[in-house]
């Protein structure tokens, strides 16, 4: 195939765009069925309690209300992404306030909600564990006593001899970093409908589901059905970012149990408050770094100890923290690395997959650390990264040699620095006179002469962060994807893939790939709805793997059909075996004879000759390997590289940070879907900026304070300045034309770049996200005292 593209890399309108701008796209809550019932959740207002008895006797005079609880679950009573530790309905105890003990099912949702206070639950409160640092203490309460420990997982990594490395270092630096709990904040709250199909067909689920095949597995386990009797159809998904996975699997299972019990369609629809209360979040991390380096800037040894608060359930913690252990020492070649990452249970809201997936936390730590080392050595931030950064042939902390692709770390760094005039700005900001608020902590009321007047109160800062990121699942598990492509006899085309659209535009990307191979316009391709009853399974839409894995499967399917058409052409038009046939602009060309026929006519011909024009494409990832004992191995089969530079204005009187500009330079391999790729950068950077400067879920004894968008603030249109995406398209052997990952890299760097920019502005470093007003002014977080709302110093 020639490197001239006719559809790939061009601006293509998204295939579901018209449905979405006209309001016709059906999201889960837009589905209604005759006889449909609603279900509402029964919860105990406790973070940790033993359930003695649930008394539903007040509902005896409500024949139209069904009660659904653990006794109605005929299959697995506990489920989970990796460990089965989460009850579908809690019957013995609750371990976090979001837990559900039963559901009321009936025709009127508001009536059901009005009945909730009538249910009397007798329970015994248990000690509440909220501090992950106390989780492994011998005398701490066990969240899941059957596991014997609050440890969810421990990933060790050992490379070289870290103690020897420290001995050989000129200087040693030790720092502790903390990151916060945050919410995905997809704008669509969870909704799902389960529809009983009758005994022989089983059940159908339609919902706001990130991964229909995972939901199918959960529902089948809970109902004790074979997989083929559970059909999951994905509704248009109103945002997910990793968040509508386990939560939606469990909601699907609950709706299914109720639908089977009542033999009616049952809908569950969450309010925003319920969504925030029950759904999992991003892990807060405590990261302890000890680093040894020489005066020439070379890092000799790094010792890392990371503790992740997994909250009440294991969820994806083992995999989230596994990515952390692979990437914790950053994109730097370091001879001696010792990393331990642990995730533990607490009674806090549980944590799982969220865009970034265990990378934004260590990147904040390691990129802050690199800047601090540079500043101690009197060199610039880009220089320390040039000295230590990965290049072709570098060996990672897991002992993997980086090869077979362009290791473009230094290239993205160079492009980013060049685009922003980084060095000049960084030096001039560093040398500006620092004004900072002087206050007496015992009497923090400013006197007239302590105010800083404009414009001196606004300080400019610039900062950068770099990363490498393993593509797709890596050694987490089997990694394969498939696609179905069917060309009709008039040349129109059906396409489907088992990877689910999450709003990011993968259906458009897949349409572009098929259109490029077959030389037709992308509008010719009709994308079919994902239905687990029809679509071949492809694993989950996670780990920025959709373009790389699903895209390869689509390309494979299109090439199978193209090759069948080429054989037909050669035969029908008597072309030599060595002639090269190409497809473009809806036409078919021979190198020797020029234009041969129209694509539509060729399809008609193929149909008349009985050629099979449907194909299943398949792609399985290359081999990876991992040693659990020492954290060594080829963790991922390829990597992407990125550099973001943040330019900020810091108001040193108020602590407010405004992000003037973020320049995001990424090597995602080949860019397939230009509009979609730019959209990933704008959206990812904006989410990353929210993580960096203001988002935080705080929990008081396990109870979340910010249950809606009035208190949990995400960036609005007015909060972030310019964002500039720049793509460096490195060579890559895998993926469609070398396309790999972008969605998560765009988010993972932003908070770290902002933190370095703020330090450049104010001349102090910060060790705790988010960089909100009090962090900037006081270098600490203000927490409400005791159980009351409000702040104290």
């Amino acid at each position: 195939m020639s490197e001239e593209f006719s559809v790939v890399g061009k601006k293509i309108i998204r295939e579901d765009g018209v449905e979405k701008v006209t309001g016709r796209a059906k999201f889960a809550d837009d589905y209604k069925f005759p006889g449909m019932l609603h279900a509402v959740m029964v919860r105990i207002n406790e973070a940790h309690a033993k359930i003695n008895e649930i008394d539903f006797s007040a509902l005896e005079n409500e024949p139209a209300v069904s009660i659904v609880s653990a006794s109605d679950v005929h299959g697995s009573k506990k489920v989970g992404m990796i460990k089965n530790d989460q009850p579908v309905f809690c019957s013995e105890k609750v371990v976090t306030p979001g837990d559900v003990v039963a559901m009321l099912v009936g025709e009127s949702e508001s009536k059901l909600r009005s009945l909730l206070p009538e249910i009397k639950i007798d329970y015994t409160p248990l000690p509440v564990l909220t501090d992950p640092e106390k989780s492994l203490n011998k005398n701490s309460v066990l969240i899941h006593p059957e596991t014997g420990s609050n440890l969810i997982v421990h990933h060790p990594l050992r490379k070289g001899d870290v103690e020897k490395g420290f001995e050989e270092s000129d200087e040693i630096l030790e720092q502790t970093y903390k990151t916060q709990l945050i919410e995905h904040a997809y704008i669509e709250p969870e909704a799902v409908v389960a529809i009983p199909l009758g005994f022989s067909e089983g059940i159908k689920i339609i919902g706001s589901i990130q991964n229909p095949f995972t939901a199918r597995k959960f529902v089948a386990n809970v109902l004790n059905y074979p997989l083929a009797k559970v059909r999951v159809q994905q509704a248009h998904l109103g945002g997910s970012f990793g968040g509508k996975d386990d939560t939606m699997c469990i909601l699907s299972a609950r709706a299914a149990v109720a639908a089977i019990k009542t033999n009616r369609p049952v809908k569950i629809k969450y309010t925003r408050e319920e969504s925030v209360l029950e759904s999992y979040k991003r892990h807060p991390y405590i990261l302890k770094y000890k680093v040894g380096y020489n005066l020439n800037g070379k890092i000799k040894a790094m010792k890392i100890d990371i503790l992740a608060d997994g909250g009440a359930y294991a969820s994806m913690s083992p995999f989230v923290t596994w990515r952390s252990v692979v990437q914790a020492s950053g994109p730097y070649e370091i001879e001696n690395v010792q990393t331990d990452v642990r995730a533990v249970y607490t009674n806090n809201p549980y944590t799982g997959a969220m865009r970034g997936f265990g990378s934004p936390q260590p990147i904040f730590a390691q990129e802050s650390l690199m800047d601090e080392i540079a500043s101690r050595l009197g060199i610039s931030p880009d220089e320390i990264r040039r000295i230590n950064g990965f290049k072709n042939g570098s060996v990672t902390a897991t002992g993997q040699i980086l090869k077979d692709h362009d290791v473009n770390l230094k290239k993205v760094l160079d492009v980013a620095c060049g685009n922003t005039d980084f060095i000049t700005k960084w030096k001039s900001n560093r040398d500006q006179k620092i004004f900072s608020l002087k206050y007496d902590p015992s009497n923090p009321i400013l006197k007239d002469n302590q105010f800083i007047d404009p414009p001196e109160n606004i300080r400019k800062g610039i900062g950068l962060a770099v990363s490498f990121r393993g593509c797709s699942l890596g050694a987490e598990g089997i990694d394969a994807a498939s696609a179905y492509l069917s060309v009709q006899n008039d040349g129109s085309i059906y396409l489907d893939c088992g990877l689910a659209e999450n709003g990011q535009g993968l259906r458009t990307t897949y349409s572009i790939i098929a259109a490029e191979v077959l030389g037709v316009s992308a509008e010719k391709i009709i994308y079919l709805e994902l239905d687990t009853g029809i679509t071949p399974e492809s694993g989950p839409t996670v780990a920025s793997r959709a373009t790389l894995m699903g895209g390869s499967a689509v390309k494979n399917a299109a090439e199978i059909l193209r090759d069948r058409l080429i054989n037909l052409i050669k035969e029908e038009f008597k072309l030599g075996g060595e002639d090269v046939i190409s497809f473009r602009d809806d036409l078919v060309f021979s190198r020797k004879k020029g234009l041969i026929t129209k694509f539509t006519d060729l399809c008609k011909l193929a149909a008349s000759r009985g050629i099979n024009l449907s194909a299943i494409g398949w792609y399985k990832s290359p081999k990876v390997d991992w040693n659990e004992e020492n954290g060594q191995g080829d963790a991922y089969f390829t990597y992407v590289y990125g550099c973001q530079i943040a330019e900020v204005s810091v108001n040193v009187s108020t602590g407010e940070v405004y992000i003037d500009k973020v320049t995001a330079v990424h090597d995602p391999g080949k860019v397939i879907n230009k509009l979609g790729a730019e959209g990933q950068v704008y959206g990812g950077v904006t989410q990353g900026a929210g993580y960096g400067i203001f988002e935080e879920v705080t929990a008081d004894n396990g109870f979340i304070r910010e249950l809606n968008f009035d208190t949990y603030t995400i960036p609005t249109s007015m909060d972030i300045g310019e964002i500039k995406p720049v793509f460096v398209e490195g060579k890559e052997n895998y993926g469609p034309w070398g396309a790999k990952s972008l969605g998560e890299p765009t988010l993972e760097l932003t908070a770290a770049a902002i933190a370095n920019a703020v330090s450049n502005a104010v001349g102090r470093r910060f060790y705790s996200l988010p960089l909100n007003l009090e962090e900037i002014i006081l270098n600490k977080k203000l927490r409400p005292a005791g159980t009351k709302r409000g702040s104290s110093l």
């Binding site: 979405k20 701008v21 945002g239 704008y682 904006t686 968008f709 009035d710 249109s717």
Partner: protein, 157 residues
């Protein structure tokens, strides 16, 4: 007790009975099956339920159904005046301003309300007009560009 509510909905006169505590969003979604109006928060923070009331963008989760009486309500289904899409919607597509699409109807209506009042908005005015519409996917940049371009084209014509 239900109350009779007569109002203009997407250009047509309608008459329904509604409980005094019923929200406009529920009336639109349930009685009229206009499900393009979305509920994201229920407290007027996210703007997914934005509709136009006499040309002004309002959160339909904070408006009672009975308050629609005598007024003109436009939802996303009525914004293109019978065409498939209008120039603003077209530019949302051209500029990649749509990802998951859940905030899109509200976003389009808030931007429409701005352009009706102010055909030549500055970038800051555009940002302010959609500041009440939260979007978690796009980072707003392509939305702002789409609105800007719509204003530019309408001035040219």
């Amino acid at each position: 007790m239900k109350m009779k509510v007569e109002f203009k909905l997407n250009g047509a006169n309608v008459s329904v009975f509604a409980e005094p505590n019923r929200r406009l969003i529920d009336l639109l979604r349930e009685e009229f099956e206009l499900t393009g109006t979305k509920e994201g928060c229920g407290v007027g923070e996210c703007g997914a339920c934005t509709v136009l009331m006499n040309g002004r963008a309002v959160n339909s989760c904070l408006v009672l159904a009975v308050q629609a009486a005598g007024n003109e309500i436009t939802t996303i289904e009525g914004i293109a005046n019978g065409d498939l899409i209008n120039p603003l919607q077209k530019n949302f597509l051209e500029f990649g301003a749509v990802q998951c699409g859940f905030c899109t109807p509200g976003m389009v209506l808030s931007a429409s309300a701005l352009l009706d009042k102010n055909p030549d908005p500055t970038e800051d005015e555009i940002k302010e007009a959609v500041a009440g519409n939260l979007c978690r996917c796009t980072g707003y940049k392509q939305i702002i560009e789409a609105v800007k371009e719509t204003a530019r084209l309408s001035r040219k014509n």
